[in-house]
């Protein structure tokens, strides 16, 4: 009985504190006369994914700041309570993401949400944000099923509310395939994916394209992230003598482990190519692909489902560094752009003078998915098509510069391919 009493006391204390602390403090608006609105951010903020998510949060906040913190007559706020974490036990969790989205749509003054990072989380969230008619912009989801075709239609019961500023894996995979086949000149490849939504999707897209070009896929293997002995798998791969290796997945699900195993069995000299999942920072960034791969990563290449060399890059890098003291990495740029799109939409939505927050939300949605609008973002000029995809179908290819980042290795921009033609 004592234990329960103690426990009850603790719970009461927690609740009492909670009552005193007011969450979602709405301070007096400054600059926006019509009131305050919030932009919610939904990303995995734990463990190894924090390295990818933190630059995104930074990029969004920078954009809002540089826009003066207001648009369309409203003050924009992103309090800490509007930043949601969909990670459970160190990694992104679709169920947690869905729960977060339910909370987000329940907040009346949230007029848009930026996120998530992972396509599997988006799959669980889109039905919810779609029913609520809340504008959602993802700077990082690349799975084509989120916007294209029958799977996408299944997620939506109402008109579309979801847009994204990166291109999709049905472009990212082929971009890598084209690079390996044409530029690197390798005609055979060993593919291994991590059995997850993103990894398998991009690996399948890669395979289809590579085969259609005339290349040979010696084997398409799958190893879930719980696999530990990659050496046996890569020994089997070596036996098939591939000229290159393609990995579908992210660092956390085995990108670096497979690289190390490949090097160990004698495949260290063949090009090792992966999607944006391994392009997560320099050799100095903790837990990143280059950090774990070290020397073995010298022959690695990665793609980014977005524009690597964009018009506003120099200024953005400088501003970001000035604001946060570190270099902009990963999806910081596309997150900034998402925020820009949201702010632009707010300007237009505010001009229609909606009667209440619900009306504003709907106006935001309509404004955000408007296919006629040309957005001038730091990524360049882009439009959103009817599915919610960006007109920019640019995939950037990166190689490894061993001398970068104080000798620890960094990704070096090689080229970008525009599939919009």
């Amino acid at each position: 009985m004592k234990l329960t009493k103690l426990g009850a006391l603790a719970v009461v204390a927690v609740l009492a504190f909670a009552a005193c602390s007011s969450t979602g403090s709405s301070s007096a608006p400054a600059g926006g006369s019509k009131g305050t609105v919030k932009i919610a951010i939904e990303l995995p903020l734990q463990g190894s994914e924090l390295a990818a998510s933190q630059p995104m949060v930074n990029g969004i906040r920078l954009a809002v700041k540089q826009a003066g913190g207001s648009a369309g007559g409203y003050t924009i706020e992103i309090p800490d309570s509007a930043v949601y974490d969909d990670a459970l036990n160190g990694a992104h969790d679709p169920q947690t993401g869905a729960n977060n989205m339910t909370k987000i749509v329940g907040e009346p003054d949230v007029i848009a949400v930026i996120g998530p990072l992972n396509s599997s989380v988006a799959k669980a969230q889109i039905p919810i944000s779609n029913e609520a008619g809340l504008l959602q912009c993802s700077p990082a989801n690349t799975n084509p099923d989120l916007t294209k075709g029958a799977p996408a239609a299944e997620l939506r019961t109402k008109p579309n509310n979801y847009i994204r500023l990166v291109t999709t894996d049905d472009v990212q995979g082929p971009a890598a395939s084209q690079y390996i086949y044409d530029v690197l000149g390798k005609k055979s490849v060993y593919i291994i994916d991590d059995t997850e939504t993103f990894g398998k999707g991009v690996a399948d897209a890669f395979e289809a394209d590579f085969v259609s070009r005339g290349g040979t896929v010696v084997k398409h293997d799958a190893a879930p992230k719980t696999t530990q002995d990659y050496v046996s798998i890569m020994t089997a791969a070596k036996a098939l003598n591939p000229e290159s290796i393609y990995f579908g997945g992210v660092t956390a699900t085995g990108g670096a482990r497979i690289l190390l195993a490949a090097a160990q069995v004698g495949l260290g000299d063949v090009p090792y190519v992966g999607p944006d999942g391994i392009n997560d920072g320099s050799g100095e960034t903790k837990d990143s692909f280059l950090n774990l791969g070290a020397d073995a990563a010298k022959n690695a290449f990665s793609t980014l489902a977005g524009i690597g060399d964009f018009p506003g890059k120099a200024k953005f890098d400088a501003d970001y560094k000035a604001e946060y003291g570190i270099d902009a990495t990963g999806y910081a740029g596309s997150s900034y752009a998402c925020a820009q799109v949201v702010i632009d939409a707010l300007n237009r939505a505010g001009a229609t003078n909606p009667a209440d927050m619900a009306g504003l939300r709907e106006a935001m949605r309509v404004a955000g998915i408007d296919t006629a609008v040309k957005y001038a973002t730091i990524l360049g000029e882009l439009t959103i098509n009817a599915d919610g995809d960006t007109s920019q179908k640019i995939v950037s290819i990166y190689s490894v510069d061993p001398a970068g980042a104080n000798g620890k290795g960094d990704w070096k921009f090689e080229t970008q391919v525009d599939y919009a033609q």
């Binding site: 009985m1 234990l3 329960t4 426990g7 719970v11 927690v14 609740l15 009492a16 504190f17 909670a18 009552a19 602390s21 007011s22 969450t23 734990q46 800490d80 309570s81 974490d85 459970l88 036990n89 160190g90 969790d93 679709p94 169920q95 869905a98 729960n99 339910t102 909370k103 749509v105 329940g106 907040e107 599997s120 799959k123 669980a124 039905p127 919810i128 779609n130 029913e131 609520a132 099923d145 029958a150 799977p151 239609a153 299944e154 997620l155 019961t157 059995t195 997850e196 939504t197 398998k200 999707g201 879930p224």
Partner: protein, 392 residues
């Protein structure tokens, strides 16, 4: 000996508390319904006021309660297997998965069919029960530890199968776009924006499940479960068919998991293998242990508390300590430590209070038998009766 008989033996007159207890034992279903109505009223009213409405909005509370309900069902089901029958099942999430996928196969664009929800609840529960028997059958001859490992193995195998058999299960992408339940009378339509509807539905399911489980516990089957838990050999010697009893435990335990699975699939609208790994089984086990093995409403309360801690309290601690700036504690992100907390709680509970927070009298006496036999005086239960007097 029942509590009433005990008192008669003692010759004392019943206190009000004991009177209520007697009434509860004799009129189970009514008590459950009345209690659930009270609980429902509390759950509806309390979020309207501080401090609860300062933590999150009312609708978010309903959503949290509905989600907690899934775990309550799981905990009650696992309680049957672990708490009542004494079979340590570490792969309980497998039945949850089966219930969820059953609903996904019948109510999604993947299969193209859209069947009515309430019958699907029954179907999902039935399918899970069948698998309960199927997965329980090989374990019949095994003793506690081996049983645990084997069930753990099954708990791992089921999601792996769903993951790898991609042509039939959509693999890692899972089956999405699952149709929500059709609008029900008195409850209204179901959508992402109506957590209240799901909450009421879950209340109904939990109430019915509780009634069913209490009936079972009070029946011959329930007594058989107690018997095989305490001493299987003696039970068999007394004519109890251990095979049927154990299979029933697995089947009925799986039933509530099936219910939970169907509900979860219809709410989340997507099922994928990563929702059903060992962490889920472990969480439910922690809930059962913390709540009080063998006590149905105890594990329900335990599950609710643990879930709320996980989804609300930990996050709240984060925001509280952001405001109160303490040197070390403010740096901690409490949500990172969820599973650490479960592990520590489990160990502490097992060491100091294995009967759980809300124990059933019987279990408490069972688990402290060593102390009792060692002659430690004063191990009296809450009604003042000493354990010694109970020895027939």
């Amino acid at each position: 000996m029942t509590a009433a008989a005990q008192r008669m033996a003692r010759g004392s007159s019943p206190s009000p508390r004991e009177r209520i207890r007697d009434f509860a034992e004799n009129h189970r279903s009514v008590t459950i319904i009345v209690s659930m109505v009270i609980v429902a009223a509390l759950m509806i009213i309390l979020p309207k006021f501080p401090p609860l409405n300062a933590i999150q909005r009312e609708q978010s509370w309903f959503d949290a309660f509905a989600n907690a309900g899934v775990f309550i069902l799981l905990a009650m089901g696992l309680n049957v297997v672990v708490g009542l029958a004494g079979l340590l099942d570490l792969g309980y999430a497998a039945f949850f998965a089966i219930g969820a996928y059953t609903y996904a196969y019948s109510n999604s664009p993947y299969s193209g069919t859209d069947l009515p929800f309430l019958p699907m609840l029954v179907v999902g529960a039935a399918v899970a029960a069948v698998f309960g028997i199927a997965l329980g059958a090989p374990t019949l001859r095994l003793r506690g530890d081996y049983l645990a490992i084997m069930t753990l193995g099954f708990g791992e195998i089921v999601p792996i199968v769903f993951l790898n058999l991609e042509p039939w299960t959509e693999g890692t992408n899972g089956i999405g776009g699952i149709f929500r339940p059709e609008p029900l009378p008195l409850i209204g339509p179901f959508s992402a924006l109506t957590p209240f509807a799901y909450f009421i539905l879950m209340l109904g399911i939990v109430t019915i499940a509780m009634i069913l489980l209490y009936r079972l516990q009070d029946s011959r089957v329930g007594r058989a479960w107690n018997a095989i838990r305490e001493d299987e050999l003696a039970a068999a010697a007394n004519g109890i068919n251990t095979v049927i009893t154990k299979l029933l435990a697995f089947a009925l335990g799986a039933t509530t998991a099936g219910l939970a699975g169907v509900f979860s699939a219809s709410k989340l609208t997507i099922v994928s293998p990563d929702q059903f790994y060992f962490t889920v089984s472990f969480t439910v086990l922690a809930m059962v242990i913390l709540g009080g093995m063998g006590n149905i409403w105890g594990v329900a309360a335990g599950a609710l508390i643990v879930y709320l801690i996980q989804s609300v309290v930990l996050k709240q601690l984060n925001s509280i300590f952001e405001i109160i700036n303490l040197p070390v504690i403010s740096e901690i992100n409490f949500t990172d430590y969820q599973f650490l907390l479960y592990g520590v709680a489990l160990v502490l509970m097992m060491l100091f209070r294995p009967e759980g927070l809300f124990p059933s009298q019987r279990r408490r006496r069972e688990l402290h038998v060593a102390e009792d036999l060692g002659g430690e005086p004063g191990s009296a239960d809450e009604f003042g009766a000493s354990a010694y007097e109970d020895v027939p």
